[in-house]
Amino acid sequence: MTEIPREEYILKCTSACAGCGDSLSLRYVLKAAGPDTVLVVPACCTSVIQGIYPNTAFNVPVYNVAFAAAAACASGMSAALRAAGKKTNVIAYAGDGGTVDIGIQALSGAFERGADFLYICYDNEAYGNTGMQRSGATPLGARTTTTPAGKMQPKKDLDAIVAAHRPPYMATACPAYPKDLFQKVKKALSYRGPTFIHILSPCPPGWRFSTEKTVEMGKLAVRTGMWILYEREQGKVTINGPSKAAMVKPLPVGEYIRAQGRFKGISAETVARMVDDAAALARRLQKEEEGIC
């Protein structure tokens, strides 16, 4: 395995919350991408944690753009850079709201056109930048400021939507597994054409857990089977080690649910439905991996 470089592209003194899962993701994404990289960032937590003009805590160029515009902007940037003979990595780096909700049209359009860039959705399962309102990526039963009694609908299946565009490479990841994330970014950037990584990004203030437990929460998500680490390379599914292990011997889902204030008061029926949904996704991916469907 390639050594993770020592170079840091996320400098000290970002304005991220303590224990921010997104900051951890960014750190490894940029270590993998290296200095010849441009981030295209729509409105999201990452637009805030860079710091305030004229300063920036990011050591690669960052193009901040309007909420719905990340994928379209990145596709235009990539077209211009490639026309000029430049190989600079273009990474659209967007939250779940900017991806599954307001930005999904631009994402779908750019992927259908085969634009040459990597789209990363870091998913903290709510509108974090505005103080935790529900998004289409908020899981069933989670309390947000706009779902005070818990969300009534399941999480939107973003990966199925992206997979329908048949990108050459797509993957899920979590900063609790930094080497896995690092390798996936490397692999995604080795492809031409739109590639995609969906990162589950534990969020202490939003999910209501203590700030030192970010990595633990990411691991719990994977070990309970609530988040599955896998890749879809040229259409072929590979379930990654930690999730393979979780499929054989999962931790009780209650360990993940009870550790987070956002699931406080969730009914046993809702938890059962979440477990069923996660199991159904696991079965579907296992079948795909085995080539059954």
Partner: protein, 370 residues
């Protein structure tokens, strides 16, 4: 090369001469022919551009923004609802100081669905920081697009430019067109703030009130400097290609006692009305507003003024009439005419002049006086 072409074809031909690195666009009536023609040029290899057939106008402008900030020349075209769908990014392009050139084929806004000429679509973008020019002929559409790249990309400006042409009246009307070889008329683009991984910067980072305010002032300063750049570019164009343009196109104004002010094709129709009125013994003249942003100064002192607006700002008035009242202290007779493609002839315009009532507003064909 002298030919005959529609306004849309003229725009596309000028884009071919300007050779933008990236064109991102989405079709909409009556602009569609522009993007079809550009796609054809790219497909045949006559134009070496990256043509991005985006899924919406919002994405068209977003893709142009992403391309432009690398230092690439960019172009898009739209109309009416398309312009308004991209409104957020229209503002972004100007705030980001990107010299994007866009053709907007002026068309009414729904409901009801209406595909014909009106200026309200682009006038609503008046505060965005875009320069706006309105053309009156197919030849002028070609010439204005060539000059738009020079003006937008000038380091004293670095703001986007919108070239407006009336839906159908110009977009689909065949007129003679001299297609010029642009050659070195448009200098190479050097964007001083182009993205450079060797010099990583944050673009559009969270910005506090003091810096934000300063950056807004910088847009206005460039908008003011743009007047000289426009004049200089139009003079250079006249020397090179022989056609003269001003901020405003004046017709028989020298001794005029009454001046008709209008934009786009109505401004050309007004010239015919001027001839008719002069034959009748009225010393009439006309001023066709070409540049709407930056807004020009007009010499109206001591003259009656009849302003024809193919637009309206509800609860306020005709945009041109109110602008001229504000900037020149004039009391124009404000005529609202041509909305949604309503036919307005030179005889109608002569009638407005004969029956002018300074300070009042007429909705032509709808209401005698509001």
């Amino acid at each position: 090369m002298l030919t005959v072409a529609t306004g849309n074809k003229a725009v596309a031909a000028a884009v071919k001469e300007a050779a933008p690195a990236v064109v991102a666009a989405y079709p909409i009536t009556p602009q569609t022919e522009i993007v079809e023609q550009i796609a054809e040029y790219v497909s045949s290899g006559e134009l070496k551009s990256q043509y991005i057939p985006v899924e919406s106008e919002h994405s068209a402008m977003a893709a142009c923004i992403g391309a432009s900030v690398t230092g690439a020349r960019t172009f898009t075209a739209t109309s009416s609802h398309g312009l308004h769908y991209m409104h957020e990014m229209v503002n972004w392009a100007a705030g980001a100081r990107l010299p994007i050139v866009m053709a907007n084929v002026n068309r009414a806004l729904g409901p009801g669905w209406n595909i014909w000429a009106e200026h309200t679509d682009a006038f609503q973008e008046r505060d965005s920081g875009w320069l706006q020019v309105y053309v009156g002929s197919v030849q002028e559409a070609f010439d204005a697009v060539l000059m738009a790249f020079c003006i937008a990309e000038d380091e004293r400006v670095l703001l986007p430019v919108m070239v407006n042409l009336d839906g159908f009246l110009l977009s689909h009307t065949m007129q003679p067109l001299e297609i010029e070889k642009a050659g070195d008329f448009i200098p190479p683009l050097h964007l001083p703030h182009a993205i450079d991984p060797q010099n990583p910067c944050g673009y559009g980072t969270l910005t506090g009130p003091d810096d934000y305010f300063r950056l807004r002032w910088d847009i206005e300063r460039s908008m003011r400097d743009a007047v000289d750049v426009i004049r200089g570019t139009q003079e250079r164009f006249a020397r090179r290609f022989g056609r003269k343009y001003g901020m405003v196109d004046e017709y028989r104004c020298d001794d005029a006692e009454v001046v008709i002010v209008a934009a786009g094709t109505l401004g050309r129709e007004a010239e015919v009305a001027v001839d008719l009125l002069r034959d009748e013994g009225t010393r009439a003249g006309s001023m066709r507003i070409r540049w709407f942003r930056p807004f020009p100064r007009l010499d109206l002192s001591g003259r009656d003024v009849v302003v024809i607006d193919r637009d309206y700002s509800f609860g306020f008035g005709g945009v041109l009439a109110k602008s001229i009242a504000a900037t020149e202290g004039a009391r124009p007779f404000s005529v609202i005419a041509g909305l949604g493609g309503q036919e307005v002839t030179y005889e109608d315009i002569a009638g407005f002049v004969r029956n002018r009532q300074p300070g009042r507003e007429l909705w032509f064909g709808v209401n005698g006086d509001v």
